[in-house]
Structure formats: structure tokens, C-alpha cells
């Protein structure tokens, strides 16, 4: 095993989550992907036959699928046989912290996760490597029929609801990484909010990779019934190694009639992690879906949260924030697909590139022929901090429905000398002035985040941008 790089190494990004703990592995498989690994996982998890078949078929799809040419670097950059596809340090997910193995608890203590519980949360989940170590929901929500389990437990305890919805929004054929996840999925959350129930305190999940050269494939399935509401929040981190890891999640969401779902992500992987995630929601009539997607870490992120408006008057929204520092490439964006009349959508994307980092906005707006009178507004703003850094925009629009209104605005800016002079002329130091301007740039998105996340993001971005303007 290679030495973890000390977190105080002179890299641009200060990454306090980059530590690594020695945690005993209970179950794991040899490196590489194979049908044997699939069988092993099905056995360990005692899964029903249909899931075993699904996994094997997905692996076949994966092996056949190509990575699209518009994702340069991912086609030959890594060897899939370098990763380990299942590593589990726990037997099962616990409802009490006391039952979580002590060394895992120590990791979560260092990350401040156990303390999260004391904050006002409707539920908390914590995944380490392949499995959920902890998953619990507040009694008051459980009594209203809200289900919040690890995805594996969802399959076991609610097999009908699970099977009816699973892999229907994102089938394995959707893309190579979705197929990979479908074959090796493990952990993630299963959320069910019954009709009319408003889950007004967030359900929160934290994903941690501890193992080296590892592939984490959590799978999340969220079903919000008619008139219900839920806010789901996820965060993540990993140690700094000198080797790569892979995180390929799939998140499927059903927003039924007049329901609303907000899904907030603060992605803060170490710069060893390839983060290749497929997130999609189906929105029924007058439902509302809001993706708040913050990408602050990873070596490479490929993620375009999607809204499929399938019912009349549905509303989809993506607020995307990406910060690409040294050694990072954030390929983020959004998809809005209008399949019904009178729907509305909004994409607001902000990216910051510094220290040679690269960010891309990739967006798709599609309006089907029968989706009349739809309205969508796209704003994407890029801030580039130095000449070494880069930002690109790849918007695609396919509008077939009548009376559609599509607005697209894109800006690219740098921290202007004029702004710097103005702020410093008031006694504010240059570094602080840069940080103010950068934080001001992302403020429209940060203000949508829960308070503690907003504070954390401002801190992280302040740190990343230190010394980045010459």
C-alpha cells in the first residue's frame, strides 16, 4: 500500500479530510471486475435472484458500452482491473453509534459526522467504502411512515416498492458508468415519503472512501409520493493517496404529483477520486425538483443532474457550483428534458477555476414535440482566476415543442483589477479581497444551502483560492 500523502504537502488545496485510517476489512474481493465478484456480492448480501440477474446483465452491458468521445481522457485513463469493487468493514448497518465498530466511529468523529446527529436532522446515514455503517431516522418521521434505509435494506425490507422503482429512471444501458454501478452497487439510501408527508428537516448522508484503489458504487432511490416533501443532503470525502479511486453513483428520484424534492450535494472528494455520477429525477404533474450540486473536490467529476418533466406544470431546477483547483477537472452541468406541457425549468451554474484547474459546463435542454408552452432559463457563469486555468461551455438545445421560451446566458470573467483595487483601497488585504470576490460570485448559490454547508463552502473555497491571483 502506498503512503498517504501528508495533508500539509504544498499542494494548492488544503484538504483536511485527506487522512487515512486503518480499518479492519470484514469482507472484500480481489482486485478487478468479473462475474465472480458479482456472485460474491450477491451471496454476501443474500440478494434475490432477480437482483443477481440484473447485476450480471449490467456487467455485460458495461463491458460492451463505450465511453462517449466527448469525455476525453476517460476512455483510456484507467484500467478497471486496478480497482477493488467491494470492500466492507461492517457486517450490517447499525441504528446506534455504539454498535458501529470503534475505528469507524473514530473516522467519523474526525470528520465531525457523529456531531451532525445533534443538529436538527431528520435522519443520518454514514457509508464507509461499500457499506452503510450507520443509518437512522428520527422517531417522529418514522411514525409518519417515512422510510430512510440503506439501499440494501430497502431491497430487503420493502421488496415490492423497491423493485417497482429500481433502475426504471436510470437503466444500466443509460451510460457506461450507470452500467458499472448497476453491476456492483452497494450502499446508498432508500427513501420513501408517503402521500402528503412533509419531511421538513433534512435527511443527511455522508460517504467516505477509506480503502485505496477502490470503487464506491452507492445507489440511491428516492420516492416522494403526491403532495409530499423531502430534503436530502449528501457529503463525501476520501484520503489522499498517490493512486486513484473511482466513485460511480446512481441516484434515481421520483417526484410525484405536487410533491417537492430538494437534493443537495457537497462533493469534496480528494484529488485521487474519479467521480462519475448519474443523477436523474422524474417529475410528475406540478411536482418540483431542485438539485443543488456543489462540486469542490475530485480529480475528475462527470455529473449532470437531470430533470425529466413528465407531468404537466412540473418544475425542475439545477443550481450547480463547481470549483476546480490544481489537478482537478469539473465537468458538471445539468439536463432539462420537457415531456409535458406548461413545464418550467431553471439552470444556474457557477464555476471557478484556479491554479490550473479546469471546469466545463455541459447542459442539455430538450423540449419534446407535445411539450407545449414550456419555459427554461439557463445562466452559466465562469470565473477564471489565472491564465493557467480553463473554463468551457457546451450547451445543447433541442426544442421541438411549440411556444417554448428558452433563455441562455453565459459569462466568463476574472477577478478584475478594478474590483481588487477598490476593495484593497479600503484596507482589505489582497488575499481577503480575492476571497470576497470569489465568495460573492458564488453567493447566489451558496445562499440556497443549509447554513452549516454555506459556512463550510466559503471556508473551502477561500482556502482553495489562496494565492491564486498573481
Amino acid at each position: 500500500m502506498s503512503e498517504p500523502v501528508p495533508t500539509n504537502s504544498p499542494v494548492a488545496r488544503e484538504y483536511k479530510e485527506g487522512f487515512h485510517d486503518d480499518i479492519k476489512t470484514l469482507n472484500s474481493v480481489p482486485k478487478g471486475l468479473s462475474h465472480d465478484v458479482v456472485d460474491y456480492m450477491c451471496d454476501v448480501k443474500s440478494e434475490p435472484d432477480w437482483m443477481r440477474r440484473f447485476r450480471h446483465e449490467s456487467l455485460d452491458v458495461f463491458l460492451k458500452q463505450e465511453i462517449p468521445p466527448w469525455l476525453p481522457g476517460l476512455r483510456d485513463e484507467f484500467n478497471y482491473d486496478e480497482f477493488t469493487y467491494y470492500v466492507s468493514p461492517v457486517e450490517k448497518s447499525s441504528r446506534n453509534w455504539e454498535d458501529v465498530p470503534i475505528e469507524i466511529r473514530r473516522t467519523y468523529d474526525k470528520l465531525g459526522i457523529a456531531k451532525e446527529e445533534q443538529k436538527l436532522l431528520g435522519g443520518l446515514g454514514a457509508q464507509i467504502d461499500s457499506e452503510m455503517a450507520y443509518h437512522n431516522i428520527q422517531e417522529s418521521l418514522a411514525q409518519k411512515g417515512v422510510i430512510f434505509l440503506s439501499c440494501d435494506d430497502g431491497l430487503k425490507q420493502y421488496p415490492e416498492i423497491f423493485r417497482e422503482h429500481f433502475a426504471k429512471v436510470i437503466p444500466p444501458q443509460d451510460n457506461k458508468f450507470a452500467a458499472l454501478n448497476s453491476a456492483f452497487w452497494s450502499g446508498g439510501s432508500f427513501v420513501y415519503v408517503p402521500k402528503g408527508v412533509k419531511c421538513d428537516i433534512p435527511l443527511s448522508v455522508y460517504f467516505r472512501i477509506n480503502a485505496e484503489q477502490f470503487g464506491q458504487f452507492e445507489r440511491t432511490l428516492i420516492i416522494i409520493e403526491d403532495d409530499a416533501f423531502c430534503h436530502y443532503v449528501e457529503g463525501c470525502s476520501a484520503p489522499i493517496y498517490t493512486t486513484n479511486s473511482l466513485h460511480a453513483a446512481v441516484v434515481e428520484i421520483y417526484v410525484k404529483e405536487r410533491a417537492r424534492c430538494r437534493y443537495t450535494t457537497i462533493q469534496n472528494w480528494s484529488t485521487d477520486v474519479y467521480n462519475l455520477v448519474t443523477k436523474r429525477s422524474l417529475i410528475s404533474a406540478h411536482g418540483v425538483m431542485e438539485w443543488v450540486d456543489g462540486n469542490l473536490g475530485s480529480k475528475r467529476t462527470v455529473k449532470y443532474p437531470s430533470c425529466y418533466m413528465i407531468g404537466e406544470g412540473a418544475h425542475g431546477e439545477v443550481l450547480s457550483l463547481a470549483s476546480a483547483d490544481k489537478g482537478m477537472w469539473q465537468d458538471a452541468g445539468a439536463k432539462m428534458v420537457f415531456l409535458a406541457p406548461n413545464c418550467t425549468g431553471r439552470i444556474n451554474s457557477k464555476s471557478i477555476s484556479g491554479h490550473g484547474g479546469r471546469s466545463s459546463y455541459r447542459g442539455l435542454v430538450q423540449v419534446a414535440k407535445n411539450a407545449t408552452n414550456c419555459r427554461v432559463q439557463v445562466n452559466c457563469d465562469a470565473l477564471i482566476l489565472d491564465p493557467q486555468s480553463r473554463s468551457d461551455t457546451y450547451p445543447t438545445m433541442e426544442v421541438n415543442g411549440d411556444l417554448a421560451t428558452v433563455e441562455h446566458e453565459a459569462t466568463v470573467s476574472s477577478v478584475s483589477d478594478e474590483q481588487l483595487f477598490y476593495l484593497t483601497s479600503r484596507g482589505i488585504k489582497k488575499e481577503d479581497a480575492v476571497s470576497m470576490i470569489v465568495n460573492g460570485f458564488i453567493e447566489p448559490i451558496v445562499k440556497e444551502l443549509p447554513m452549516e454547508f454555506a459556512v463550510e463552502i466559503n471556508r473551502l473555497i477561500g482556502m482553495q483560492m489562496e494565492g491564486s491571483v498573481g
Binding site: 476593495l423 483601497s425 482589505i428 488585504k429 479581497a433 470576497m436
Partner: protein
């Protein structure tokens, strides 16, 4: 020494073009000076050079703040030493709330973290003097502010930062008649033995509210004439022609 701001034979250029060609001026605390001069004569260049805008290069001379030569110092250092510039064109900083910005600036000026309550008390007092609405400071810094609001915001910052020497670059332009009066009253409240003020303006009307001790005329990067407040009225009537012809 400790109560003077002195510009000695200052030369400055922007992009290879020399704009200031030997400016000399001494301001003592307690005094108000005014500089007038035709468009393009170098007034804003002087103001920016005093504050240390990196766009302008000093090619000769000195700027002495309380005896210390500040040429080469960063703008923030100058500000913390008590210098202030009210901008002719204040720039917008999206996403940064005016009040938060002011708090950080005041902390920097004080060299310590100020008590939040004290800060807000003072802010409210100054806003009242300048007839600024409460919600104004919750808005993003200068973003979407009207011309007059921006100028008022400059004076609010000056009142909060309590500089020892301040340069006001065309603070009057963009202000309506009532706003001009309010802003000038604000400046007059600050006026006193602890501050020296340099006002740059095109119009006599501002100088009718803030009567300066001296008026100087800048033409082509040189101060060509100095006099008392009566000079303003003369300029209002006769323009700059008689000076440029004199030369």
C-alpha cells in the same frame, strides 16, 4: 510632520504616457483643499496614484503621509495608515453585501475585530446622517446602485473608516441637488482638526457647501494656479481659457 500629507514633485504615467508632470501639494490636518481642472488634465490620475492603484506608475517624486513616503506601498497598507479615496466611478462587487464589506474594512482599519453591536450602532448613525435607507447596506456592494447611491456609499465608507486624509474624486457628479446637500453636510460633519481633505470637482456648487481653504488648478498634469475659495466663482464664470492662455 505628523499632521501633513505632502506630494513632492510627483510624476506618474499610465501605459507609457506621462500624465502627472511634477505635482506638489501639502495638506495639513484641519484643511480642505480643492482641485479643479479641465477633463483629462490628470485629476483622477492624481487621486489613483495617491491611493496606489497599480495601473499607475510613479516615475518620480514622493508622497509623504505623515512624513513617511508611501510610494510603493500596497493600497490596503495605505488605507490602514489612514488614507481614503472616494472613487469617481465606484465599481460593483456582486454577491458581497455592503454591510459585510464595511465590517471587514473597518476591522482592517482598526487592526482588530470590532464588536458587532458597536459597529452596527455606528453604521446606523452614519446612515441616518446620509439619509440612507436600512435595506441599502444589505444590498450587494454597488450592484445596481444608481449613480447617486454609489456616491453616497463612498461617503458612508469614509465616515465609517474615519481616515486622516481623504481624496474625494468628483463625489458631486451624479448627485441630485438634495443629495448633494446631504452628502456635503456629511463631509462637513467629518471636517475638523483630525482630517485633511482634498476635493476634486468641476463645479463651484459643491464648494459652496464645503468651503475649501485652498483651490488649485490642474492643467496638463501640473498645478498651475492656487488661490482661495473665490477662485471657484471665477472659474465658473470664465472657464479655464484664461489660465491656459496665460501659460
Amino acid at each position: 510632520m505628523n499632521d501633513t500629507f505632502e506630494i513632492v514633485n510627483l510624476h506618474a504615467r499610465i501605459e507609457e504616457r506621462e500624465i502627472l508632470r511634477g505635482v506638489a501639494l501639502t495638506i495639513r490636518k484641519g484643511e480642505v483643499h480643492a482641485i479643479m481642472g479641465p477633463n483629462g488634465s490628470g485629476k483622477s490620475t492624481l487621486a489613483n496614484t495617491i491611493m496606489g492603484n497599480p495601473k499607475y506608475e510613479v516615475t518620480g517624486g514622493q508622497i509623504l503621509l505623515k512624513g513617511e513616503n508611501i510610494v510603493g506601498m500596497s493600497p490596503d497598507e495605505r488605507a490602514r495608515k489612514g488614507l481614503f479615496l472616494a472613487f469617481q466611478y465606484p465599481c460593483e462587487v456582486p454577491g458581497v453585501r455592503t454591510a459585510n464589506f464595511l465590517k471587514l474594512a473597518c476591522n482592517a482599519r482598526a487592526g482588530k475585530e470590532l464588536d458587532t453591536m458597536d459597529f452596527y450602532d455606528k453604521l446606523q448613525e452614519k446612515m441616518k446622517i446620509l439619509d440612507i435607507e436600512e435595506k441599502f447596506v444589505r444590498r450587494y456592494l454597488n450592484e445596481g446602485f444608481s449613480g447617486g447611491e454609489k456616491k453616497r456609499n463612498e461617503i458612508l465608507q469614509m465616515m465609517m473608516l474615519e481616515p486622516e486624509f481623504a481624496v474625494l474624486d468628483e463625489t458631486d457628479s451624479g448627485l441630485d441637488i438634495d443629495a448633494l446637500k446631504i452628502v456635503c453636510e456629511g463631509v462637513n460633519k467629518l471636517r475638523g482638526p483630525d482630517i485633511g481633505i482634498l476635493i476634486i470637482t468641476h463645479y463651484e456648487r459643491m464648494l459652496r457647501y464645503i468651503i475649501p481653504d485652498y483651490i488649485h488648478i490642474l492643467v496638463d498634469g501640473c498645478l498651475v494656479k492656487s488661490g482661495g475659495p473665490e477662485l471657484a466663482a471665477h472659474l465658473e464664470q470664465h472657464g479655464y481659457d484664461w489660465i491656459t492662455k496665460d501659460k
